[in-house]
Point group: C2
Chain length 337, copies 2
């Protein structure tokens, strides 16, 4: 039953029912009695305004999009959950999409989402900017918030980690522990966040007077196979680094697998410092020292930023961007020399 049938049944106008059900009864001075009658009947017959009709009329759907690179990664799934919860409180639905760390899929999904009349979009990009991506975003008028990995050249409110600082934090910790040769396992070479983390590492190295070839970098992507290949390159080299930083949450699994295969043990053969705290980080042997991101806080900030724009469309572009700080979670995978 829809609201016009309900109206007919009650002998009132559709508009009256609509106003009551969408909470605008007072604004349009519907009498208390009528309000009650309508509400009771709506309750009884389980009538809710069809979001499609409402969306069509209002010009939006009461739904936002969330596009993440890998829902399988606890980092993003935790964020997704937090974001959905925030928006549920506002009565806004969240449509979640997964680009599987693939830029083509990402662009495809993005254009699909942009054409879907959503109220807004939270985008956690794969990380590489293509012209298509840039154009798709700037051509659209949909409010967008960028999350985690930023996109240079695209100005939208964003939520991210201070990656440079996080990289510096990691490097400083390893250097303080007495390590000399560092290895970084990155995800995608094109991804900004990884690049910034590496820059942070390099900065500390430079400050402390190390040579540039005291840092070796490997890794071509975020998938399992690519992580394995990168880890292999780092660990089986003749001049194996004595400490490895995994720049992504997935990478660490690759390092652990290869390390086991090569019969190396942590931290006696090499130290391991992993970005992203995972449910199992503390349960590994040895428990992993990690760089933790304030996941929930970041997710909520992203939701909050988007909400501001939704509530007040004029404020587009006036949003500040939020930068969060990583923290070191010290366990036992880094040796003190």
């Amino acid at each position: 039953m829809n609201i016009s049938e309900l109206a007919q049944h009650l002998g009132v106008a559709v508009s009256t029912v609509s106003r009551v059900l969408s909470g605008n009864a007072e604004k349009y001075r519907i009498s208390e009695q009528t309000v009650r009658r309508v509400q009771e009947a709506a309750e009884k017959f389980q009538v809710v305004p069809d979001p499609l009709g409402a969306g069509l009329r209002r010009g939006k759907l009461g739904m936002i999009g969330l596009l993440v690179p890998d829902i399988t990664n606890p980092f993003f799934s935790t964020m997704a959950r937090a974001i959905e919860l925030r928006f549920r409180e506002t009565g806004i639905a969240v449509q979640l999409c997964d680009s599987a760390e693939d830029t083509d899929t990402e662009l495809l999904l993005l254009t699909k989402l942009l054409s879907r009349r959503l109220d807004g979009l939270i985008l956690a990009p794969v990380g590489k900017v293509s012209d298509g991506l840039k154009k798709a975003i700037s051509d659209s008028s949909m409010p967008i918030v960028l999350l985690d990995r930023l996109l240079p050249g695209i100005d939208a409110p964003s939520v991210s980690l201070d990656n440079r600082k996080a990289g510096a934090l990691a490097a400083a910790h390893l250097l303080d522990a007495g390590h000399r040769r560092l290895g970084c396992l990155r995800g995608d070479p094109g991804a900004v966040s990884d690049r910034e983390r590496i820059e942070g590492v390099q900065e500390v190295l430079r400050e402390r007077g190390f040579e540039s070839d005291d840092l070796v970098i490997a890794g071509e992507g975020y998938t399992r196979e690519e992580s394995l290949a990168g880890a292999e390159k780092l660990l089986s080299a003749s001049d194996r680094p004595d400490a490895i930083i995994s720049l992504s949450g997935q990478g660490v699994l690759g390092v652990l697998e290869v390390s086991r295969r090569l019969g190396l043990s942590i931290p006696s053969d090499f130290s391991l410092l992993a970005f992203d705290e995972q449910p199992w980080s503390a349960l590994m042997q040895p428990p992993l020292t990690t760089i933790a991101q304030p996941i929930e806080a970041m997710a909520e900030k992203a939701a909050a930023l988007l909400n501001v724009t939704l509530k007040d469309p004029k404020s587009v572009g006036q949003q500040e961007s939020a930068v969060f700080e990583a923290s070191l979670c010290e366990r036992e995978s880094v040796a003190k020399k």
Copy 2:
């Protein structure tokens, strides 16, 4: 730009544009020339039919819902990804919701999804059936496919594991290895799947002449805290079981954490057999012996079942249900006595 503006621009009727853009040009005998003209213009101005308008007219949105109990669990996130991929190929969007293993949230989200004019719904329930849930589902005319944990009393096509057999598989493996006292860490006591797995275990125990108190069961839910409490109960008992089966993917983390806290080591102090293969299962110390489910196959089957109903609405209720088999993934967390 919408299709009526495009029509005006081209000097043709909206209906013509609509027919071309929705691929019904032949059916309505639009000339090749007109088709080309429309397509080119649509391409040029980036015009796609508004899904809202279309949805309103058609009575559906081209979108299905997917409700899972915990998107943070790799089991469900892997499924979610597979399902989304399948439907993307059909041009159908997927709206993902997470009930956070909470039945109230589940019911709330379910009613929301049901009122949202979706084409269909894939429901991976928390596992407990409430009257509200039952009523909500049977009152609605939306095609539904049940996934993973079934709901007795609700007849809908479903995809699930042969849980009884999986439980038997687990028990047999442990008994074969010479263990005598078994402990089960379950998730929710009300969940059907866990119950069936336990029944499978009990069956094997009975067949081989064990007493009923050779099996001890603990666990009150799927959250981290509940897992910890359950594991604590099992592991710190004076007559600690010599083998533990974790019935859920989350549970095993609880067992590992408590085990470490108590200074126990696996498999010398107790053996561990965990349901659900995880990315890190093989990387634990010791590598975990697991019961693996064919996640992707199950997800695709669920998508296929729903697709049949979407394509042919008359076939509602004529769907068979699919049952999959678990397999044992032998590693080193089960001792041979």
